[in-house]
């Protein structure tokens, strides 16, 4: 008991919530004139374009796919003509091909869009793949891989991630409030095909309305031998991180370098489950998504349903800006990526666009480490960020390995809490690059 008391620090930090858009009902943004469909909107192999410049495409038509298992097909979000094939620099630093499709404004639906026939496990996985669904919470992991774990028999728990611990973002919250019946039907389908005996829907305590709504629908699921419960978790960042979430919901700790499946769990984002159930009903693949548009430069923060591939500048023009944008983020302020320009299109895994004005972008120069230990207390993976950065500057890769540097999930709690404003996470990222290169 004593050893757990002193070895297991709780980790995590209190972040400001800034959920200004929580009560903003989703507004459908009309499809823009031109969309830019990137061939890599997921973790895994990029897709190969299936159409060429000059081809006519329709909504829901598959325009990119890959033979590689870990990948997800890509569909057109508008009807119109392919006008260009460009190279696009993604915010993470990789380049990918992208189709520029000029909309004809008619939004004709492609003939392939019809509800899939799903009776067997194989048909289910095939349908999930065909839907183009990836983890909508930000990671973009292909859903058909996640739902087809190697040891399916050992999976007993499905964790539905509605924690949404990043500041600003309310897309999952809006899904809970607006489409709770899609969530419950998706949960039932996934639970059935996965053979999981229990489902835990995890929400942070700062969203009482979502907890009430999800509890109401969870009570309606009455399958013998299966339980669906809603778990209210402390509002503490990074509560929604997979490893932290599984530990909080089940008490199981995913091993270093492991996946939730190693401890009998599958974790799915709440919007992903909901989108999957709608796909099974309508056959319309993932061609649009809800995105929170917020930040101090935005005139009217809101939640938008946006066609995938819509350039960010069109989205910002739609919501209006009241101040010049100094920093533009894909995702939340803790883990989001800063963009180099506003030409980039919306990708499947982007749950938020934050346009920050000057006042939110004060860069304070780093001073010397005072060894206060705030980063150590904040690290949810119980690493020693100070020692890792020291080993990095010393070029000591053996020490970096001993310190389990690769176990860092880049949540940013260390940098967030550093009173010396040191770029701790950035240094750890560089350390991880060194380890990847020397492996």
């Amino acid at each position: 008991m004593f050893s757990t008391l002193i070895h297991k620090s709780r980790g995590g930090v209190h972040v400001p919530h800034r959920k200004h858009t929580a009560e903003c009902e989703t507004v459908v943004m009309p499809a823009p004139e031109k969309v830019l469909i990137a061939m890599s909107q997921h973790l895994g192999a990029p897709c190969i374009p299936l159409v060429k410049v000059g081809d006519t495409v329709e909504v829901g038509q598959m325009v990119g796919s890959s033979e590689v298992p870990v990948s997800a097909p890509i569909h057109s979000s508008v009807s119109g003509t392919v006008t260009a094939l460009k190279e696009l620099l993604l915010p993470a630093g990789r380049t990918t091909l992208a189709l520029e499709i000029t909309s004809d404004g008619e939004n004709r639906v492609h003939s392939s869009v019809k509800p899939p026939i799903v009776n067997t496990q194989e048909e289910f996985i095939e349908a999930v793949r065909a839907s183009g669904l990836v983890g909508l919470g930000g990671a973009g992991f292909p859903a058909h891989i996640k739902l087809n774990p190697k040891d399916r028999d050992t999976i007993d728990t499905l964790v539905i991630n509605a924690a949404e611990c990043e500041p600003y973002i309310t897309t999952d919250y809006r899904e809970c409030m607006e489409n709770s019946w899609d969530i419950v039907s998706g949960v039932q389908t996934v639970m059935e095909f996965l053979g999981a005996s229990r489902v835990v829907i995890a929400v942070e305590r700062n969203k009482p309305a979502a907890i009430a709504e999800l509890s109401r629908i969870a009570a309606s699921v009455t399958v013998p031998g299966r339980t669906v419960t809603v778990k209210a978790l402390p509002a503490r960042y990074p509560q929604g991180a997979e490893k932290v979430l599984v530990a909080a919901c089940t008490g199981r700790r995913i091993p270093v370098g492991g996946l939730p499946a190693d401890v009998g769990c599958v974790v799915m984002n709440v919007t992903s489950v909901s989108v999957l159930s709608r796909y099974l009903k309508t056959g319309m693949p993932l061609v649009s998504r809800r995105v929170t548009v917020d930040g101090s430069a935005v005139e009217k923060p809101q939640n938008l349903q946006v066609a995938l591939g819509t350039p960010i500048k069109d989205i910002l023009a739609f919501v209006g800006l009241k101040k010049p944008v100094r920093k533009l983020l894909f995702g939340g302020p803790m883990m989001g990526l800063a963009l180099m320009n506003d030409e980039l299109p919306l990708l499947k895994q982007n749950n938020a666009i934050l346009a920050l004005a000057e006042e939110d972008v004060t860069e304070i120069p780093a001073s010397t480490c005072i060894r206060c230990g705030r980063c150590v207390d904040a690290c949810p993976m119980q690493l020693l960020p100070t020692s890792i950065t020291k080993a990095y500057y010393a070029g000591n890769t053996d020490e970096l390995k001993r310190l389990s540097t690769m176990n860092c999930m880049e949540c940013g709690c260390c940098s967030f809490s550093c009173p010396a404003h040191r770029p701790i996470l950035q240094t750890i990222r560089m350390a991880k690059d060194i380890l990847r290169a020397t492996k």
Binding site: S9, V13, K327, G373
Partner: protein, 316 residues
């Protein structure tokens, strides 16, 4: 409006808003009750010693950085903390030039020569005190009776309670008197109540974790009780409260992880008791903390936390 280029930087894009100076300012605030108490107990000479120590600490920090051609760090207030802590560790009668010398040693030798804030391997204020103890043993062992500056006490100098323990004078020691600092001793160490107040402030402001002070004091309490001394008097006397709350918790010189802090605090308590009960010195807090400071990196290495999910998969 001209369009500025977008700023691209690594996540996170949010910060808790705290900085080093805020932390040091909180420590200074936490030291104010003890500072007020020292003036009440020992008169305005106490304030003079404190001003001299702080001023020479600031000057030494400034000059050291200047000579080494390094960015100025006076603004982070850490030298003010060191100066104040050193003053709290000196008797009120100390010649002012000796107090200033202590500050110079603390800042120039113990802190800046090892790389400045966060890099020193022992507590600078304690190094200053130990050097003064070795250099000027008489001046450092001249204990004025509290409140004698008001002309109320019969004697002007006397022994400290710790020196009395074990002699027939021990019977006169009242724990309540010790709590309010009505005893001989260094400037800032005697008024335990003021130090506790500062300690509570630091814990509430999340500047320090209560782990080190609580375990340090508990270790001294239990060990002295087992060895047949009066544990309450032991805990309330000498520099223990000052050391446990403000010196042993120095960020740079204590282990950074929780388990390490526990081992370190027990070690501090153990060495303090050994020196007090079996050593030739009446007080052992300074040496105990300095010895444990030196052992800190080794403790940290031995008690490294196990990363999340290390070892075998836990499946309950």
């Amino acid at each position: 409006m001209e369009k500025q280029p977008l700023l691209v930087s690594s996540s996170p894009h949010l910060h808790c808003g705290m900085n080093t100076r805020d932390i040091m300012r909180d420590v200074v605030i936490a030291l104010i009750p003890a500072l007020v108490a020292s003036v009440w107990l020992f008169g305005f000479r106490a304030l003079a010693v404190e001003v001299v120590c702080v001023a020479s600490a600031i000057a030494t920090e400034y000059l050291s950085r200047l000579v080494m051609k390094r960015p100025q760090t006076v603004g982070d207030l850490s030298c003010v903390v060191t100066g104040l802590l050193l003053a709290f560790n000196l008797p009120v009668t100390i010649p002012l030039w000796q107090a200033a010398f202590g500050s110079v040693v603390a800042i120039a030798v113990a802190k800046q020569m090892f790389g400045g804030l966060g890099q020193n391997f022992v507590n600078p204020a304690l190094v200053g005190r130990i050097v003064l103890m070795g250099s000027f043993p008489d001046a450092m062992n001249n204990w004025e009776v509290p409140l004698s500056w008001l002309g109320k006490a019969d004697a002007v100098t006397g022994a400290t309670p710790l020196a009395l323990l074990g002699t027939e004078g021990a019977a006169d020691i009242e724990p309540l008197q010790l709590l309010f600092g009505l005893r001989g001793g260094c400037l800032g160490e005697t008024c335990v109540a003021a130090l506790l107040l500062g300690g509570i402030y630091l814990v509430v402001r999340h500047v320090i974790s209560p782990l080190i002070p609580v375990i340090y004091l508990a270790t001294v309490f239990v060990l002295t009780w087992l060895l047949g001394s009066d544990p309450l008097v032991q805990v309330l006397s000498g520099g223990l409260m000052l050391g446990a709350v403000f010196m042993a918790t120095d960020y740079a010189t204590c282990p950074i992880n929780k388990a390490g802090k526990v081992v370190y605090a027990i070690g501090c308590g153990l060495i303090t008791v050994l020196i007090r009960m079996f050593g030739s010195l009446p007080e052992g807090v300074s040496f105990a903390i300095v010895i444990m400071n030196i052992l800190s990196p080794l403790i940290e290495r031995a008690t490294k936390p196990r990363p999340f999910g290390a070892g075998k998969a836990v499946r309950s």
